[in-house]
Amino acid sequence: MDYERLGLKAGIEIHQQLDTEQKLFCRCPTALREADERNGEFCRYLRATESEMGEIDRAAEEEMMVMRRFRYYTYDTTCLVEADEEPPAPMNPEALAVALTIARLFSMSPVPQVHTMRKLVIDGSNTSGFQRTALVAMGGLLPNGGAVETICLEEEAAQRIDDQTFSLDRLGIPLVEITTSPCLHTPEAVQETAEYIGMVLRSTGRVKRGIGTIRQDINISIRDGARVEIKGVQDLDLIAETVRREVQRQQALLAIRDELRERGARVSGEAIDVTDLFKGTRSSILKKAATILAVPLPGFAGLVGRETQPGRRLGSEMADYARKCGVGGIFHTDELPAYGITAGEVARLAAFCGAGPQDAVVLVSGTPDRAACAARQVQRRAAMALEGVPEETRRMLEGGSTAYMRPLPGAARMYPETDVFPVEISETLWRSIPLPELLTERAERFTAELGLDRTLARQIAFSEQLPLFERAVAEGCRPALACRTLVGTLRELRRSGVATERLADAQILEVLRAVEEGRVAKEAVPVVLTAVAAGQTVDAAIEQAVPPLSLRELEALVESILSDRSAFVREKGRASLGPLMGVVMREVRGRVDGKVVSEVLMKKIGQMLGE
């Protein structure tokens, strides 16, 4: 696919949780909790309010189509700020410092006076109905020539437990949002840029790690298409595929548009009440419905069912819009007869609606209000198909396809957070912000200074174990051993079911030091760590893994090795000590100090040579 010819323009927004002690606007810890640890819950309704310019944001307005009752779980680690029952505390300076560090790494200019804003989000993910966010710096650079437009410091939203239930533990964790310009022109470039930004973020050593701590939103358009924002791509490896599928979708929608126009298709008229037509139907959904409405779409036959992305059709997009009214979905004639609706019923439906072979009919069902709302939404989406690609916010589905979420929000959703004072970024503060070494640079330094091979150096530099590795090296452990243990051994142990999360950093360090001190052979490290993870002390684990060897046992062992190699000893004389030392050490696997081995070996060689 020639993406440049298609006019692909993409930009990304990366949301990364910061690893600070406290939340952004309260003093609660940034700890994630299990839902069953909750100590209470409450419920709220949210409604869209006017912005300072006197408008209501279109995305917020759409969320209000159904009045929803949201439920929130509270914990002994959340407070009234998360419950929207207390004004926010001043912006957490620790989080601001991390955001400024990141800004420096992208060579950005800080905003002289940072203002906290309220970004209207009334899908329930914020108890207040808005997310607090502040623009911190602008105008950064990417190595591929692209631009980082802005970095914002935001509060994380509440974690959704189910459709209308949220957990308050995550709400308020500091988050940076890094937005690039639409400077990316291939799916691969989008993915590479996301990887690069992720690397820069991790270079600070102050970001949270693990699933859900980083999320990517992708903005995509092609020529004649429209800007679509895909929210919450968590998996880096899926980014390129998501871009490819969105390009495919926009192309498909443009092709549908052209065909609709050629056919003279139109969207007009009212929805038709066909409830009586389906009396006695075998379709379980229609049987339960109080009202069934039909939306005739002249000229749409075959196109409603046409695929736009793997597993998605124009009909799926109509269904996404209809669901905003609280209905479960839609039926359309391109997929009927099916779902218990018979060919006879389809024929009667078409006749009743006056639909010919070129026409499609969409069915919606529900309470009278919901069905009417859903029918209007289907008509709205069908009308958009005549225009091409609608601007919208979409959410990820498994595999990289997407579904409609809401319209693209506008600037009308932002208004000042009056309860938080602005923060000035003085020249002194800006200059005092440390500029950490990038992980890529660090990996190169590890190769140059510590002699690690490139792959291993990169692995440890990008690993969560980096701080521990640096400590181990500083304490005199061999870099290669520390590195292999931290990135290789621990992972292998975890995969084989060892509870490596129970290993304290200090314990791992102690094991590494024991190797250096000759108390245990490096080969025994996995066994020792396994025993420590199971609850033993390091000393006990070493002792158990490596039972001490008595002097007599050692002498017997050495004698046996020497007798196997007597020819070699006689040939080389005392010079055989070096090679044989290795052989013996392998056998004793660190159970005896190297110095003792050397003494015994020397004595026995002497005896063999008759000295």
């Binding site: 929207d84 029952e85 207390e86 004004p87 002289p112 600037a411 932002m414 000035e424």
Partner: protein, 412 residues
């Protein structure tokens, strides 16, 4: 120069080697605040900004408020406060600017409960409330009742709502409900409690109640509002939605949300029980003093010449023994001194300990189980119509509008 910019002007600012386009909002802490196209506000030094253009204001005209003539007519009397607040984007503070029409427009659901007419007594933050405004408010409420309102809703800031509601209880007799309502979270946020409180207060005002009440969230959830008797209610939390609690009695009713079903307890005064009457005279030279250990008695000198003084004493109703003499001088000088308790829950009894007996001996009036706020409003009202010390004492210790309970119920 920034002085030439007006809110809404398009301006351009040089920042970080780039030119930023934005809308001028205000000047704050020496910085020009601009709104960027993305909706973010930032502050930049004024000398890097230049004027671009002044767009014509395009604020949409407010929609007309629709009324259903078949519904009963309620009167909304507004005084200001958070329920009627709007953010001032120049100063960044929340100020009271809404009038009652704006409230109707902001809460469309009100139109399904009743018809409304609106009166505006003041637009102040409740800390700026005065007895003079209480009197103006009482007159307005009375006029509305006489004018046939089926109920009156008073929008009020929550901080001093309990004082005003208690004062109105003494000043206005009404056959229809007079319902005070406010909100703890500002109206500009999607989660504001103003919608639910307003709808529940309207339901209560259209219901069978016949006394002055405060209607506010009963819990942190958007599920039920409590109807509190005006003389027994207190703001017990700085910021929670359920800050208002009845003290010494249970709430006199509830309003469920969103069904808006009103349930009144047996004790609630019913619609039509009282004839309308207005007694707005108040003796404003009255004070309220919260005693603390070590508080110098010289504080009392400030109240010399006062007609009335409510003490929020410790425990059963005490102040330091060192206060006995100065208090005696105050009382001998003509000041009526009423003892209440900072415990809030429970009844004053100055007959248990020596200090209490001394207080009684010098003429301090035991305030029964009155809340200090209600006692202040009451002493103002009583002293405006009665000066004979014995008659004053009798009135102060008589339950007039539910401010005193005859017995302290178990469990409350």
């Amino acid at each position: 120069m920034t002085a030439s910019f007006q809110a809404g002007d398009r301006i351009q600012c040089a920042h970080g080697g780039r030119l930023l386009d934005g809308t001028y909002i205000t000047e704050r802490d020496g910085m020009v605040v601009i709104k960027l196209g993305s909706g973010y506000n930032i502050g930049v030094p004024g000398d890097c900004c230049t004027f671009v253009e002044r767009p014509r204001p395009a604020r949409p005209t407010p929609a007309a408020v629709e009324q259903d003539p078949s519904l009963p007519e309620l009167s909304i009397v507004s005084t200001g406060g958070t329920i009627a607040s709007r953010v001032d984007y120049r100063t960044g503070a929340v100020t009271s600017q809404f009038d009652a029409d704006d409230i109707l427009r902001a809460i469309p659901g009100l139109g399904r409960i009743a018809r409304f007419r609106t009166r505006q007594v003041s637009t102040i933050l409740s800390e700026n409330m005065t007895p003079a405004i209480w009197q103006a408010l009482a007159r307005t409420i009375y006029e509305e009742v006489k004018d046939g309102a089926a109920g009156v809703i008073v929008t009020h800031g929550t901080d001093t709502m309990a004082y005003t509601a208690a004062a109105v209880s003494f000043m206005v007799r009404s056959p229809v409900p007079i319902v005070f309502v406010g909100s703890q979270r500002s109206a500009d946020r999607p989660s504001s409690d103003n919608v639910m409180n307003a709808l529940c207060s309207a339901a209560a005002a259209a219901g069978d109640l016949g006394e002055v009440a405060v209607v506010m969230h009963a819990t942190s959830s958007d599920d039920v509002c409590a109807i509190h008797r005006a003389t027994r209610v207190r703001k017990m939390h700085t910021s929670r939605r359920d800050a208002f609690q009845s003290i010494g009695i249970p709430p006199i009713g509830t309003v469920e949300y969103p069904s808006l079903q009103v349930r009144l307890r047996e004790e609630a005064v019913r619609r039509g029980s009282l004839d309308p009457a207005l007694h707005t005279d108040l003796e404003e030279k009255c004070g309220l003093l919260y005693f603390y250990p070590g508080m110098p008695a010289s504080v009392l000198e400030c109240f010399e010449g006062y007609e009335g003084l409510v003490l929020a004493g410790s425990g059963l109703g005490h102040v330091s023994t060192r206060w006995i003499e100065p208090l005696k001088r105050l009382i001998d000088g003509g000041t009526t001194v009423v003892m209440t308790s900072q415990c809030l829950h429970g009844r004053v009894c100055d007959r248990v300990y020596d200090t209490g007996r001394d207080l009684l001996a010098i003429g301090v009036v035991e305030g029964e189980d009155m809340l200090p706020e209600a006692a202040l409003a009451k002493v103002m009202w009583v002293l405006a119509r009665e000066r004979d010390p014995e008659a004053v004492r009798r009135l102060l210790q008589t339950d007039l509008v539910g401010e005193i309970t005859r017995c302290s119920c178990h469990g409350l």
